[in-house]
């Protein structure tokens, strides 16, 4: 019997090649999308699970009732380590860490390479030795018991080790950090896996921290909330109990009365680092979209099966007459569906694995994942596949097996199709609504990305190189400027505490004419005389800082937004007050974008610095001509001026593109494009099935019409009217949905919504629908009406 079933199914595949192809494509697309996004969700949920102590590791975080925008901070003070967690009996191990400071470049440091050049490495941490007891880390060189116990020691990742010591054997060798601090390599560890929340490239022993930072009493500090406190709880200990024990610790810390520590489990560090549900919501949306795609594909399968069953009704009728029971026919169809879905799933697994690079591009991620290596996932997908097979096979199987053999054998089955047909129409219309919605949204996002990439920033962002420098010794800026400007390639140079897109210093000001309680949050920048000309900022009123006015060190320049906020009609000479000190306005600069273009332009005030480079500073150089040449030129000059301080010049336009928001929007755009294409494919197949069904049902009618002299055109028109209704529905649902997304899209500056995105989306869908119809009509048109009208 099974052999009989199988040959039957295979013969049917051979007999209905087009049908099988379309239906399999439909299922493969559905399953491949489902698999891909299951992998993503699975990957995200599996973060950090490689740690053997997974269930016992917690980070002690800080809840701050009075902070904005979130009440939860992932950092905590170092005092937790010494005066709180170490005393809790449930805690087995404590670990204090801190990101190495790197200012504007992110948490990193410079290392001196063997050839003397500087290498900037991100993701460095100060850490205690207990990191090796708590987290699962494999040492390539060194000893876990004492790798990070001594001051002046560093543990480095294998990758960094290869860069610093290409010849190998890093253990015991010295590296120089920041051109001045020599540390000894005490261990080399295997790189943290991709799906680890903590991805340290190097760990400097915590015992080195007070030596280098000069903060001897850091362990007594309750208010410097910038450390990472990890703990390992004893097996079976209740974190809630620990939470209750430690919650009142800030009660007597001035200004921190509303803060409290809490344990955040390792399982949530990745998906919800500061106890916000954003990642979970994101994963939920992805899961929903993936399930939706699979459901749409299953619905198509049902529709296509039913449409195709008209062709197979004769076979069913005969089988019934010669003694097959309803049950046998139903199980034949069901097993056929299950076989189809299983085959589609296996194909989809290959497709999914092959499309991983695409997925990584869409999500802007770097997931390295082998589907074949994950047994749990495979079993899950196989179960889903069986479920889909049973669910989408059951209905057609029941309908088909109930065919009346007498009617079927006389070819009467669909001659009086009832109104059940409209359900299919609604489903296809819904599919089209979704794909139209996705299409329009991806067009909107496409426009938006272009808009933000091309928006006028209010300053000249081309031909600028910048670097952060933190010199050991003070240096007069004029010295630097004179040396740089010797070269005709250098058009200008300035230094400031922040530059557009990089860095922000906040603060509150009041101003002349403000109400008694009124204050304004500002973004401030300490600049030298050359900042405004270097960035080609335009003055609206007044003048730039100038050496001719010694009083300018008590002056400031505000932007137009600030002018509006302060409500002055004649700004020059007016006073603002920062930290109680008065500054008088010497000029108003035209508004420009100090932050990424999604943010509104802030109230922005520039103050004059003393023209001496000391502490962490940003140097900006405007060059002309070739960038490479300019870079080597200024790097050469700067090395001679600051021989003991590491730095690295960067292209400003790169900083602009690396701004977090841009990859995010690009990723969103690609995501919607992807789903738009997928839903479009699936809804096209859905429409294809629907029209196929209609055509099959009406073959006879069309035959009669042709015999009576009807043209192909009128048949085409007849089928088109069915689709026009569905398109109308899709437009009614899809367009307002997309407009709503545009409205709620975050970002202070958006391009106005144009009709073109809607029109292009609708036209695209309409063309695809018409092509689908044309395919069927062409088939009918070339067929001989006699075939359709023959008795049998």
């Amino acid at each position: 019997m099974i052999k009989h079933f199988l040959t039957n199914i295979l013969r049917n595949v051979r007999h209905n090649k087009v049908f099988t192809f379309i239906n399999l494509t439909n299922l493969v697309v559905g399953f491949a999308v489902f698999i891909l996004f299951s992998v993503v969700v699975n990957y995200e949920l599996d973060y950090d699970k490689f740690n053997t102590n997974y269930d016992q590791i917690y980070r002690v975080q800080t809840r701050q009732e009075d902070s904005y925008p979130t009440n939860f901070c992932t950092y905590s003070p170092a005092a937790f380590r010494y005066h709180l967690m170490a005393d809790v009996p449930e805690v087995e191990q404590v670990l204090l860490m801190r990101e190495v400071s790197g200012g504007a470049k992110g948490s990193g440091q410079f290392f001196t390479l063997p050839d003397g050049s500087q290498l900037y490495e991100l993701n460095g941490y100060w850490s205690e030795n207990s990191i090796f007891d708590i987290f699962t880390i494999t040492l390539k060189e060194g000893n876990k018991s004492n790798a990070l116990t001594e001051p002046g020691t560093i543990a480095i990742s294998e990758t960094l080790s290869k860069k610093l010591f290409p010849e190998g054997n890093a253990l015991g060798k010295q590296v120089t950090v920041g051109k001045r601090f020599p540390v000894t390599v005490s261990a080399v560890y295997a790189d943290f896996p991709q799906n680890s929340n903590l991805k340290a490239t190097y760990l400097v022993s915590m015992a080195t921290y007070p030596v280098l930072s000069g903060e001897q009493a850091y362990g007594e500090n309750w208010t410097n909330i910038s450390f990472d406190n990890y703990i390992l709880l004893k097996k079976g200990a209740d974190p809630k109990l620990v939470d209750a024990k430690i919650k009142d610790v800030f009660k007597n810390v001035k200004n921190f009365e509303k803060s409290s520590p809490y344990l955040h489990p390792l399982s949530k560090l990745h998906i919800s680092p500061n106890s916000q549900p954003d990642v979970i919501v994101g994963l939920g949306i992805i899961s929903l979209a993936a399930i939706l795609v699979l459901v749409l594909a299953s619905v198509n399968y049902v529709n296509l099966s039913l449409a195709n069953s008209t062709q197979r009704s004769k076979e069913i009728g005969i089988k019934k007459v010669i003694g097959s029971s309803k049950k046998l026919i139903a199980s034949q169809f069901l097993s056929e569906t299950i076989l189809h879905t299983l085959a589609a799933t296996i194909l989809a697994l290959f497709v999914a694995q092959a499309s991983f690079p695409l997925l990584n591009r869409i999500l802007n991620r770097n997931i390295d994942f082998s589907i074949w290596g994950n047994g749990q996932l495979l079993i899950f997908i196989l179960l889903v596949s069986l479920l889909v097979g049973v669910l989408s096979g059951l209905y057609p199987a029941l309908v088909i097996s109930a065919y009346n053999p007498v009617k079927v054998l006389k070819g009467k089955i669909f001659s009086n199709g009832g109104n059940s047909f409209s359900i299919k129409k609604v489903l296809v219309a819904a599919q089209f609504s979704i794909s139209l919605f996705m299409l329009i949204v991806s067009f909107i996002l496409f426009n938006h990305v272009n808009f933000i990439l091309n928006k006028d920033l209010g300053f000249d962002n081309k031909n600028i190189l910048y670097t952060e420098i933190n010199p050991r010794d003070k240096m007069k800026f004029e010295t630097v400027k004179t040396r740089m400007l010797q070269h005709p390639e250098i058009a200008g140079i300035s230094f400031s505490s922040t530059i557009p897109f990089i860095g922000n210093i906040g603060g509150y000001v009041t101003w002349q004419g403000a109400a008694p309680d009124e204050k304004e949050m500002i973004s401030r920048n300490y600049v030298n005389y050359d900042f405004i000309p270097t960035y080609n900022l335009k003055m609206a009123y007044g003048r730039n800082f100038s050496k001719e006015y010694p009083a300018d060190n008590k002056g400031c320049i505000i932007n137009e937004t600030a002018l509006k906020v302060f409500g002055w009609s004649d700004p020059i000479g007016k006073q603002i007050y920062l930290e109680g000190k008065p500054f008088s306005v010497v000029g108003v600069v035209k508004d420009f974008h100090p932050f990424s273009v999604h943010n509104p332009i802030p109230t922005y005030i520039m103050f004059l610095n003393n023209n001496v480079i000391s502490g962490s500073t940003l140097l900006s150089v405007r060059f002309t001509g070739d960038e490479q040449k300019a870079r080597s030129l200024i790097t050469g000059e700067l090395v001679t001026i600051f021989p003991n301080d590491p730095f690295e010049f960067k292209d400003f336009s790169v900083a602009f593109y690396l701004d977090d928001a841009i990859p995010f929007w690009q990723s969103m755009k690609r995501m919607f494009m992807f789903f738009a294409v997928v839903t479009l494919v699936i809804s096209t197949i859905g429409l294809f099935g629907l029209i196929l069904f209609t055509v099959k049902r009406r073959t006879k009618e069309i035959g009669v019409r042709k015999v009576l002299g009807s043209s192909v055109g009128s048949i085409y028109w007849q089928l088109s009217t069915e689709v026009i209704g569905m398109l109308g529905f899709a437009i009614l649902v899809g367009c307002p949905g997309a407009a709503y997304i545009y409205k709620t899209m975050p970002g202070a500056y958006k391009e106005p919504l144009t009709a073109s995105v809607f029109i292009i989306g609708i036209v695209l869908i309409a063309i695809i629908a018409q092509l689908t119809i044309s395919f069927h009509v062409l088939k009918v048109a070339v067929s001989n009406p006699v075939e359709a009208l023959r008795y049998e």
């Binding site: 013969r11 007999h15 089988k319 019934k320 007459v321 010669i322 003694g323 097959s324 007498v406």
Partner: protein
């Protein structure tokens, strides 16, 4: 064997009841060869479908071997189809995706006959109908007459007591038609009860009994080898 009493078949539309069959009374004994004749729309096929349990009468009695077969459960009907009766159709109705061999074998699979026995039975029948060489061909590759022979083979492989043939020669030219009728006659001689519906006066003569239907009513029921010509006039 077959007993029909006052069988009605009608369709109700809004204002009137249309009778397809009316007060049919018919008894068929084992070993009979009955030809049902009549113009198009006279209800021949409906009668055959009712006898074949493919259609249910609107009223009346129907029993096989003194057992009523009205309101049979699905399972019991399938049982009759598997073990008691075989069907032959005008358009052969072979399964196009199956070879000659598989078409003939299928009823045995439904009956649950073991694979070895199936092979022997199909081989026997192929041999008898001289179709051994054609067993791996698909129906489209055969002539009409050959297709109908396969149809007969499929109908009788399960050794049914009753063979129902709905215009078995309707799509065939006369030479092939005669061959099919000869085959049916031989089967009848071997003891199989056959009821055929036909338009062809000559082929109706193969029957031992001819029933003429008109507008759903049995007009004539002539037994024996009565010459057709004498009936008409």
């Amino acid at each position: 064997m077959i007993y029909l009493n006052n069988i009605d078949k009608y369709y109700d539309s809004k204002f009137q009841r249309t009778f397809v069959l009316k007060a049919i009374k018919l008894e068929v004994k084992e070993g009979e060869f009955v030809s049902i004749m009549g113009p198009s729309g006279s209800g021949k096929s409906t009668l055959l479908n009712i006898i074949g349990l493919l259609d249910a009468p609107s009223a009346g009695e129907y029993s096989l071997y003194d057992k009523s077969v009205l309101d049979l459960k699905e399972k019991a009907k399938v049982d009759y189809h598997r073990n008691f009766m075989g069907f032959i159709f005008q358009a052969y109705h072979l399964i196009e995706e199956m070879t000659v061999y598989e078409n003939i074998e299928t009823p045995l699979i439904y009956k649950g006959v073991k694979s070895k026995d199936r092979q022997a039975m199909v081989a026997d029948l192929l041999d008898r109908f001289n179709m051994v060489a054609k067993k791996d061909l698909f129906p489209q590759q055969l002539s009409g007459g050959q297709q109908q022979l396969v149809g007969i083979a499929r109908a009788i492989i399960g050794k049914p007591k009753l063979l129902l043939a709905d215009e078995p020669t309707g799509n065939l030219h006369s030479l092939q038609g005669e061959m099919i009728m000869e085959t049916l006659k031989t089967l009848n001689d071997e003891g199989m009860t056959i009821i055929q519906v036909t338009h062809n006066e000559k082929f109706a003569e193969y029957g031992k009994r001819i029933i003429r239907l008109e507008d759903g009513i049995i007009r004539k029921d002539i037994a024996g080898n009565t010459k057709f010509a004498s009936i008409v006039k």
